[in-house]
Symmetry: C2
Subunit: 371 residues, 2 copies
């Protein structure tokens, strides 16, 4: 099953408060999905992800196809059981990863021929294969196979590319067998407004349970990112969930929510945590800095996460400098908690009518460094 | 405060059931201390260590002196607060680590001159310094600075070495200032029975709250390890805790308990976990093996640890092969749970009078590989 309901619309922006319901439960939107590429949110247990407050994670069909293999996961009862996560799961199709990770790949009419980044073995990703993999994994939201051309690409190339993405989307749609999951189409078209509109309309004609905006945050200016997102959303049906793929600085998220985006995923909170960069209510904090060597305070004095309730900056810095793996977990917990609170703040402010203020508060934090 | 009480003695072996009480609580003996060298049991949170069932961990004065510095830890409220562990802590003095990790070191009459393994800076460890460090850390059990000569060492060298260790032990004893902690002497003497007896008697004359058997498990035959342990214990006072340093295969632990040892520490459960080698009720299991790729069973079907209650061998193997850090934690939880259960089994079998049977059951598991 898959349903999407909008409970409230903000009056002065296009932000919407809603709920997706999948076979594995409810997902309150706007929602953020922590990235679980290889069937694990790096360093966290599924219980921790749930306790922090997330209802859905995103894994990756390309990675799981190569290792441990989708058929293996299927034999073991599907991805939910495999990773012991009983809430909702989205998988990215892997089109983006095939193109970015495989050194030798060839885009053909019927799919992408590539070599594994793990062992160099040759594989072919077709739209049909891509759906087969995601249905074997048994996820709640599947993504269509798409081509995500680099930035910049010529308009001529991009025009051909969206036609290919549309043909693949049709084949994905027609090869979907299961009825208890959703399939989202991915709008491409680079920064060309007319191509975005065309790509969106092509996908709407095919008909999907939700629509994603893909191919952004890959080198274009932030203004282009926002403009393209807005242009694309203006064409998408209001009653379907909209997913902005891969973009996720806090200021990007609130801004995109104000344009009507419902769903996000991004490696920023988890990857930044592993690099020692932390989000706080007063801006970013780099834990390895010498200034924290004897700092008794938690990362963020207002934060209620396990890490902030339990450890000082000085201890976390010590673990980081000493390369103790515990720190990866503790910092990831903090950053994901920050994101969970961000999404809760977005949802409660839409509900209370205070979203425009929340929006400007989060936007004003962007990039600021703590002293 | 530091007290030690023996509640029950096994009738047919020398095993004893007891309790140490420190300023941070009770430690049921025989006890195993997980190793927290750099103020963390690698990959585990303090809550996990407590939940698994441990009442004391062992950290390391040498490591914490070099990084983050004992004065820093003291300023931050001591080691318990620093690592957020409110139960008991022992620190090894660091003599062993100075000798094994520092490339250039010189044993002098008044201490050990060495270069840091981290940055090559020169430092001097004297008995007084060693106590100062451990008192700054604020631990419950401190260890004397000792010389741990390599195996084999000549009897002549060893004779001089135990004299040095005795002189240092006297200086450690006299420089101890705090009254709420304990200081243990470390018996050395290699595999020479008369030197062990002499070293033990020298330390007993000085008087310590407990006595450790050091310098074993460094290359001598297992029979020599056991024989030396037994010879040393026969001299040590019955009413003080006895600590066998660094030795800890399950079969070693039960055997040493049968000789009257009360306290253990060892990197085996945690290090083996990180290398993917797991303890089970049917012997060892190497998680990376291909045979587990589609194995739905937990590591050990009888085990109640979080890892076994939640994940399959297939999933753990996948994480291990994919080098996901979550696996380090999950495997460490399992191995430490196995050790916690081992110690509980030892204690309850001494209480019920069944220890001799328990002893032979654990001894018969030694080294066995699961099919």
């Amino acid at each position: 099953m898959f349903t999407f309901e909008i409970h409230k619309k903000d009056e002065s922006t296009k932000a919407r408060l809603g709920q997706m319901t999948t076979a594995h439960g409810v997902v309150d939107t706007p929602a953020f999905m922590p990235v679980a590429t290889q069937a694990t949110v790096k360093s966290l247990s599924p219980k921790e992800i749930e306790d922090i407050g997330f209802q859905m994670v995103i894994s990756n069909a390309y990675h799981l196809y190569l290792r441990p293999g989708h058929k293996t996961v299927e034999k073991l009862g599907g991805l939910h059981k495999f990773m012991s996560w009983n809430n909702s799961i989205t998988t990215d199709s892997g089109g983006y990863q095939v193109l970015s990770l495989s050194k030798t790949r060839k885009i053909k009419d019927d799919g992408i021929l590539f070599r594994s980044h793990l062992d160099g073995s040759e594989h072919m990703f077709t739209p049909e294969k891509c759906i087969e993999i995601q249905e074997s994994l048994g996820v709640d939201i599947m993504m269509c196979l798409d081509e995500c051309p680099p930035f910049p690409s010529t308009k001529e190339y991009m025009r051909k590319s969206i036609d290919l993405t549309t043909r693949w989307a049709k084949l994905c749609r027609s090869s979907k067998k299961h009825t208890d999951n959703a399939l989202f189409g991915i709008v491409q078209g680079g920064v060309y407004k007319d191509l975005r509109v065309q790509s969106a309309n092509d996908l709407i004609d095919i008909g999907f349970e939700g629509y994603a905006v893909g191919g952004l945050g890959i080198g274009e200016d932030p203004e282009q990112t926002y403009e393209t997102t807005e242009n694309t959303l203006s064409v998408l049906p209001v009653d379907k969930p909209r997913y902005l793929m891969g973009l996720g600085k806090p200021e990007d998220i609130v801004t995109a929510v104000s344009m009507g985006v419902d769903l996000f995923d991004c490696v920023i909170p988890t990857r930044n945590a592993r690099n020692g960069t932390l989000f706080t209510s007063r801006g970013k904090l780099v834990i390895k800095n010498a200034q924290f060597a004897e700092d008794e305070r938690p990362i963020d004095e207002g934060c209620e996460c396990y890490t902030c309730r339990t450890f000082s900056r000085a201890y976390l810095r010590h673990l980081y400098i000493a390369k103790e793996t515990l720190v990866l977990r503790l910092l990831t917990i903090h950053n994901l908690y920050f994101y969970a609170e961000l999404m809760k703040g977005i949802r409660s402010s839409i509900l209370s009518g205070d979203f425009p203020n929340y929006l400007s508060r989060v936007q004003s934090l962007g990039g600021e460094k703590e002293n």
